[in-house]
Amino acid sequence: MTILDHIRKHTAAGDKHIYTLILTPRTSTLISQVLEEEGVLGEITILPYNLQFIPLEDDVISLEHENAFKEIWLDGDETALYNSAQALLTLQRLYGLFPRILGKGEHAERLARLLIRLNSQQITTPGLPVSQGVSEKIDSLIIVERRADMVTPMLTQLTYEGLIDELVGVSNTYVELPANIVSPPSQANTSEIQQNLLASYELNTQLTHLEDLVAEGADRRTILRMMVLASVVSGGIKVKQLESLKRVFLQTYGYELLPTLLSLESLQLLQSNPLPPSQAHLPSMKLPFTALRKQLRLLIEESEGGTDAMPNDISYVYSGYAPLSIRLVQCVAQMNAVLASFNASDSGKGKGKGKDVSQASEMPKMNAHPIVGWKGFEDVINTIPGPTIDITQTGIESKAQGPSLFPKEQSTTTVVFFLGGCTFTEITAIRWMAKRTRGRRFMIATTGVVSGNSLIESLLPAAKPKTAKVAGGSS
């Protein structure tokens, strides 16, 4: 029952109640408007409850803003951005200004600018000190926007929590187990397709396999994820093939998914190559994936990755693929790890294939280096579409001059904010980084925890009330 239904029911029964509506994180003009139009505004007291970051774990805080990705990038609704800025502002008020703000992506830049602007307006909230000094506890804020790396979430997560999220779905740290937990629905095995796509190996063959999976009646979300992966990694799919794939998809899962395909197209996540003339002039969000794969060592050979028990690179979370988003974080906060993977493969070349696993030693724990922005990786970073952000903030009483140096004993915290959501695997990867770094802790902040399925689901049409059951089911 909606709020209106409740009120009307009470009024009809002659019950008198006091109504209070609490909206989080703030009140909304639209809601007031609707209530006014329905004639009940006068009976309700509307209050804001400024709930910002919710701690999900010791090192993970989340706004739990569902569908932030869809809202920002598909709908063009930047409410999530505004709320994120307010939440980060609170962090600044509590711990001091972020000495350095780094990031990548158009919306990451908007967030950074919004944060700076709101801060300079010194909108005071009673109770919190207006801190103008630069933080001594936090050394930087790294903003990663989801859109900058759409490869990672499309892959099947292989960490424990990640896998649970893939199979059952974790929501607000809770899992709702389906009745058939003992014999869960069979998942289409797309690992070979994923590996081949990442390696840019025989794209046509992978697409044909994908069509077969469609024929078998695989989960439509899985198919969409693979389609997106293929498009993003390859910079688009040939027109004829794409049309064939889309046709088979629509015929199998229903024409009502046409809007979803169009949404993916407008997000530039499912593109034809070459683009149709009307879209050719639009700013491109294409990832130069093959170049990045090489320059940032996104694919790590099994022999170089250490063991399961002692992985020596973040790529263990995807069995040999290092999440691009986390590599970016490493460029800022764990440079030696990115460079080390260069050295590992160089030395690997000399020794030939079949390198003994034990020889790939665990990466030694290293001291945290001061934050120097994107230094050393500027060329690579600039090839990724979207502005590159590197802002230094100096408070009124600025103590530090130049890169923040701190005594070895003191540890600093680096805040990594995922605008649009992060996956469990990305959280795990950052935790690995934290374990391998002496003197630096990571605080993972995000608009929410997402998975490939949750991202795709936000683009699907609302569930139909009646569903027909047929052989195997193809929903």
């Binding site: 639209l30 307006q121 889309k246 015929q251 199998t252 046409l258 003339p277 195997g472």
Partner: protein, 483 residues
């Protein structure tokens, strides 16, 4: 109040002063405080100075001394002296000043238009200059009205630009205005607007950084385009909604849309938000918006959405056809137009099919694949074949559909016959794997013989046919498989 101790301290002369100080050591602190207090109550500067000097002298001999009373008194006296000056003429006593508080004094000075003095005092005492500046700015606006100001004989008529510049420069010099939480440009701008100086108001408002203050005034001034722009700039989506709702209420629809269109890419976020709002609350408006903007794809999508919620089949069909028309009007949307046409055709066919089975099976709403499979399951295999042709379903796709449908029906003979009808385009491994996955291992075994020899051993295993598996492995000498 003069005590012996005070007398002692005001004495000059080296040694005797020392002696006196030592003599009153226990009372020294009290004496110092008394000097400070006395200084406050003196009206003559000479005596104020003497008493403060004495206090300073005595302080030097104290160990722990709080400097604040001394410093504060110095400041207070400076202020009091300033206002008691004949040109200002406020004969305030120390007691009155303490009771009144410096803030109130500033208010009084301000209301007497003694802005400069008030600002200097505020600065000196580190108090916020904002209320003073606000008052000053408003006064300036009133005074500099072209053609003479209120109450000022032949008041200077300055241009809006000059006044704006003057105010802005002053604010920035004093560190108020943009960014400070005190006076807002918006308030001053409002005053300017109320005096009819809209140009001045706009210029001032431009410097207001807090959109929440800026925007409502812009709306009040009917500066609709700017209001929308500033709201979008602020990043505050709620503010944008406020503006949109306000404009929608006030303006005729055509003007409303034009305003957004004319705003260009700068107000694109507002356009997006409007669409979101309309989608939820006002479909009519959304339809009109898309139509007026020639957005064929969006119009088409809207119709498709409507179609999906319509219960009545013919209404659904009509909406779909209308959607198809929109898509076909866009040259780059040939594929989409074809797909929508197919969906309309499917709907019509499904209606027929439901009649064929006397409504015993629900065809409407299914996808093409599901429809084909349901046909097979209902024994309408000819229909299924026809669909295969009409919808250009590939061989691979069709064989999978047949396999799945017949498995569901447990129609083993039919499945067998079908599998032999021609060489399977999907091979026979899918037969084995699918049957096994559905729990029909025994039936699956039949098809293993037709599979790739290299895979047979493993396939037999998956069917639970251990003996056959054993044979295969033995034939190949596959020891690992045997174990």
């Amino acid at each position: 109040m003069k005590s012996g101790g005070v007398d002692g301290v005001t004495l000059r002369g080296g040694g005797r002063a020392d002696e006196s100080i030592r003599a009153m050591k226990p009372d020294l602190a009290f004496a110092v405080d008394a000097c400070i207090d006395a200084a406050g109550r003196e009206w003559e500067v000479v005596w104020q100075k003497k008493l403060l000097d004495a206090a300073k002298f005595g302080r030097a001999f104290l160990d722990l001394v709080d400097p604040r009373p001394f410093v504060t008194m110095g400041q207070t006296l400076k202020v009091l002296n300033a206002i008691r000056y004949y040109e200002i003429g406020i004969p305030m006593t120390y007691q009155q000043y303490t009771l009144l508080s410096p803030d109130q004094l500033l208010t009084r000075l301000t209301s007497r238009s003694l802005h400069l003095l008030a600002l200097r005092i505020a600065n000196y005492l580190s108090l916020k200059p904002d209320p003073i500046l606000k008052h000053w700015a408003c006064a300036k606006i009133a005074q500099t009205r072209p053609g003479g100001g209120l109450g000022t004989a032949g008041g200077s008529g300055e241009s809006d630009e000059a006044v704006a510049r003057g105010i802005i420069e002053k604010f920035e010099a004093m560190g108020a205005g943009a960014g400070s939480a005190g006076v807002s440009y918006a308030e001053i701008a409002k005053k300017a607007w109320e005096s009819g100086r809209t140009g001045l108001a706009t210029m001032l408002l431009d410097h207001e950084t807090r959109a929440a203050e800026q925007v409502p005034l812009l709306l009040g001034m009917r500066e609709d385009g700017r209001a929308l722009e500033k709201a979008v700039d602020s990043g505050d989506t709620d503010l944008v909604y406020q503006v949109l709702l306000n404009l929608h209420k006030r303006l005729p629809l055509g003007d409303f849309f034009k305003l957004i269109e004319d705003g260009g890419p700068k107000v694109a976020p507002a356009s997006k938000l409007l669409q979101l709002y309309a989608r939820d609350q006002n479909r009519e408006m959304l339809r009109d918006f898309f139509y007026s903007d020639d957005r064929r794809v969006d119009s088409g999508l809207l119709l498709l959405e409507e179609a999906s919620t319509q219960e009545d089949i013919s209404a659904r069909f009509n909406s779909t056809k209308a959607a198809q028309k929109f898509f076909s009007e866009d040259r780059e949307r040939g594929f989409e137009a074809r797909m929508v046409e197919e969906s309309a055709r499917l709907l019509a066919l499904q209606q027929t099919l439901e009649k064929d089975v006397d409504g015993k099976a629900p065809f409407v709403g299914l996808s093409v694949s599901d429809t084909i499979m349901l046909c097979i399951q209902c024994g309408l295999s000819k229909r299924a074949e026809r669909m295969r042709g009409e919808w250009k379903v590939s061989d691979r796709q069709y064989w999978w559909l047949k396999l799945r449908a017949l498995t569901e029906m447990k129609a083993w003979d039919e499945l067998d016959a079908f599998s032999k009808s021609k060489k399977s385009p999907i091979g026979y491994e899918p037969f084995v794997r699918h049957l096994v996955s559905k729990g029909y291992g025994k039936q699956a075994g039949v098809y293993v013989a037709r599979c790739d020899p290299a895979k047979r051993g493993e396939l037999y295993l998956s069917c639970g046919e251990y003996r056959a598996a054993g044979r295969e492995f033995k034939e190949k000498g596959d020891a690992a498989g045997l174990s």
